[in-house]
Assembly symmetry: C2
Homo-oligomer: 121 residues x 2
């Protein structure tokens, strides 16, 4: 079972084409809808924001948990959803897990919403 | 009541800051989660793809309905969700409504996932 819930190749296919580009197939649309479902929660968005903006590129789960008035299991659940969607990755070092964003996935989501440059004004 | 479910100013605030930027407030995270909830459906993603890739920038609801094995009311519901999220806008001309993407919103979503350029390799 892949760590992110889908293979790297599938993730690439889902996200590398802009919405203004060629037709999105049913399978790709379903995978992509799953990624947006993971993003459709305010706490998960704020967690992703904290991880994406971390000065040294990663955040200890201890700091993420401390930032919300939520239980550690609840934060863990949200992090698991983000991880399964391929948006973040975690590495255990000693007592704690350290999270960082999957830059490739974020860049592909950015490209998804990119519009073609206007050829004339 | 605003057509898109939120004012233009609110929409701008929600989407113009990258996730790798300053902290996302609770209100902004909630608004943004609503936009991703609208995107978290395969049919809505494929509708948005059809509208975003339309050669002349807009698509008749008649063509959108014809492209899916779904009833007209179901397609209308999905279009309404996309419209409330500020992702598309529609204009009635005669019998049909014609839809186009709200380019500003898509561009801001693109910016949301943009990562800062690396300062060194």
């Amino acid at each position: 079972m892949s760590k992110s819930g889908m293979s790297g190749d599938a993730a690439a296919q889902v996200c590398c084409t802009p919405l203004s580009g060629p037709p999105l197939g049913e399978a790709a649309a379903a995978e992509l809808a799953g990624v947006f479902k993971a993003l459709a929660d305010p706490v998960r968005l704020r967690l992703l924001n904290m991880i994406a903006s971390a000065a040294d590129g990663e955040v200890c789960v201890c700091d993420l948990t401390a930032a919300f008035p939520l239980s550690a299991p609840t934060i863990s659940h949200h992090l698991k959803v983000l991880r399964k969607a391929g948006l973040i990755d975690g590495e255990r070092r000693g007592t704690w897990v350290y999270y960082r964003v999957v830059e490739e996935r974020l860049t592909r989501l950015s490209g998804l919403f990119a519009l073609p440059a206007l050829t004339s004004a």
